[in-house]
Point group: C2
Chain length 362, copies 2
DNA sequence: TTGAAAGCGGTACCAC
DNA sequence: GTGGTACCGCTTTCAA
């Protein structure tokens, strides 16, 4: 008995085959340039495909190839609020793809060697894609080089490492984050006054770009102000001491901008010196400890770097790359958002929902 | 000859069947509660599924059911910049699902009858889902009722019609948009001064919520200010005349807030009266004509309602609902964003990219 | 250079 | 109640 007794309008590759009275195998070869097809039939097939507006059925293809990709995600344990949200964004966005994408999360502690080890072991384990925060530029470059040799795409999140050869980077446009901070701060400051910028790690591109943006925007919006730049190396104690000394030594401080998530010590220093509401502050990121300062106006605004959006974009780019061989743009910018008194509740509500979902899954 | 001679670790439903030495059909029925299974086997199957951590292969399921859903999207032709972005957001987010989701776009002109007709014909055509801007509450309710009878989910975008029975609504938290406008405006205003709010259509929930948020935040941030509310009915001429009269009649205007996209006429009125930079203005949405006003500071900020994000969220919710029967939350809020001098370029760049992509597809 | 056929995993129909 | 099996559209192997 022939296979196709019931007449049914064949579709896809079979429709083409029937129309030309050839086999599906031939059509397949013609469509995929896989040699072994005569020029003549190849052209006939292509023309017919065009005519029928053939669109390959990805579902069928996936089923047959039964590919499911393992993507390994490496995020630090520090700045938990930020990276938990980023993780949540990845999970959320990956959920429609779960039969194709298997996402495994790793976290590494502050020790830079750990980051290395974590990434290296993923490489050895033969994952199909990696999403990571570049530990630092040179180490990252080495790892990515290895990954490239095995054709494993690497996507950076949160910070870029542009020369490393990563597939793309999803980062929050740090330059413009700095600009926004400057615009908001300028609006809250008196005409005169020194500005203090507390940066994290100045080897980190993310941080230096913020500082650059801040400086340039400040110059554009206002009379010339002097700026003191303090590096805190993401160390709370250093931040506290640095801020304290600066507050005592510098006369006429008109405003402060903290470019990393390390803002609480700075605020504590301000409180200690009794200048908490007198000096307007703009911070970075959003986490529970910062909330009261935003509510009562001690912090005028914080630059929110949309971690869940970064996660979401990263995993979607990975999916498109792995599944459809669509290369993403060389970098994917997320627009930083301004969290202030008026919209704070919205952001808190969002994180709460997120936390709820994550908890449910566990 | 038996089918499975080569020993291969069967997976999925078949693995369960083999482990229990029953047929896949039975396993299927047990897993899906489709009667005709003895209680005993059902439990055995469920336990085994649990043990094997069975996850249905959605790819296979989709292929077999070969469902592909038609989703019809209905957006007005007005406020083109906004709805074009929303459309682009839908297309972008739908692209990974294109073998399952067929999205068709309709646009209707200002005439409310058209909106009706457009939606009704989609219903008749038997689409599987509808995304639309509710034309107005009562009409919407009638249509959604019809849709519900046929179990067709309707998702509202941009404006909600909560009582209509729609599946969910993706809207930009208008209340908080108003709050944000108030916070920014308050920061730019002198201590005293009347505030003017130019609203679009006050029958529109979106608009009234913005006004409410604005009022409440203004009351929170500042000494009591008097507020004049003018309804422009989304008509440029009415907006121009209303603004002009207000500017002439009201002494001591300290700031203005335009809650709809109808801000250009208001700005023209300000220019005509030579008060363009004297009175700080906060507007809504972002479109080319507004750009120069933002660049030169005449408009302090505009409340951007993230149209592409709305589109993206709407289509993803629709996908999850249709494909996985996951009901979305009863409303999906998008956090409005503040576009100012410092981040304007980012938003422009984003729209440019978007436009590029859309053009390429055409 | 071409064709026949197996089968990816799940669903549904039919027979027992 | 249960089992057998065709089939969704595509890829790939093997034989012709």
């Amino acid at each position: 008995m022939p296979k196709r007794t019931i007449i049914k309008p064949a579709s896809g590759i079979r429709a083409i085959a029937e129309a030309l009275d050839i086999s599906v195998a031939t059509v397949h070869r013609a469509l995929h340039n896989q040699g072994r097809v005569s020029q003549a039939t190849r052209e006939r097939v292509l023309r017919m495909a065009e005519e029928q507006k053939y669109q390959p059925n990805l579902t069928a293809r996936n089923l047959r190839l039964n590919r499911h990709f393992r993507v390994s995600v490496h995020l630090p344990t520090t700045i938990a609020a930020f990276f938990d949200s980023l993780r949540a964004g990845i999970e959320e966005a990956a959920s429609p793809f779960r039969s194709v994408l298997e996402v495994e999360f790793h976290r590494y502690t502050r020790n830079p060697g750990r980051a290395q080890a974590s990434l290296r072991s993923a490489l050895e384990a033969g994952v199909h894609g990696i999403i990571a925060v570049p530990p630092n530029t040179t180490q990252m470059a080495r790892l990515v080089k290895k990954a490239r040799e095995r054709a494993i795409p690497v996507i950076c999140v949160s910070t870029d490492s542009p020369e490393s050869g990563r597939l793309t980077a999803v980062t929050p446009h740090p330059y413009y984050g700095g600009c926004m901070a400057a615009e908001v701060l300028a609006a809250s400051m008196r005409k005169r006054g020194h500005v203090v910028v507390m940066a994290g790690d100045l080897e980190n591109l993310n941080q230096t770009e913020k500082v650059r943006g801040f400086m340039e925007m400040l110059a554009r919006t206002d009379a010339n102000r002097s700026v003191t730049l303090i590096e805190t190396r993401d160390d709370p104690e250093q931040a506290f001491k640095g801020a304290l000394r600066c507050l005592r030594e510098t006369p006429q401080i008109g405003g402060m901008y903290v470019t990393s998530a390390n803002s609480i010590p700075v605020l504590q220093a301000l409180r200690k010196e009794d200048r908490l509401y007198a000096i307007p502050v703009v911070t970075t990121d959003l986490f529970p400890e910062l909330v009261p300062y935003l509510r009562d106006g001690a912090v005028r605004a914080t630059i929110y770097q949309c971690p869940e959006m970064q996660g979401s974009l990263a995993i979607r780019a990975m999916y498109q790359y792995l599944m459809e061989s669509i290369a993403p743009p060389s970098c994917i910018g997320v627009i930083p958002q301004l969290v202030m008194k008026s919209n704070l509740e919205l952001y808190l509500r969002k994180s709460a929902e997120q936390a709820g979902k994550t908890a449910m899954r566990e």
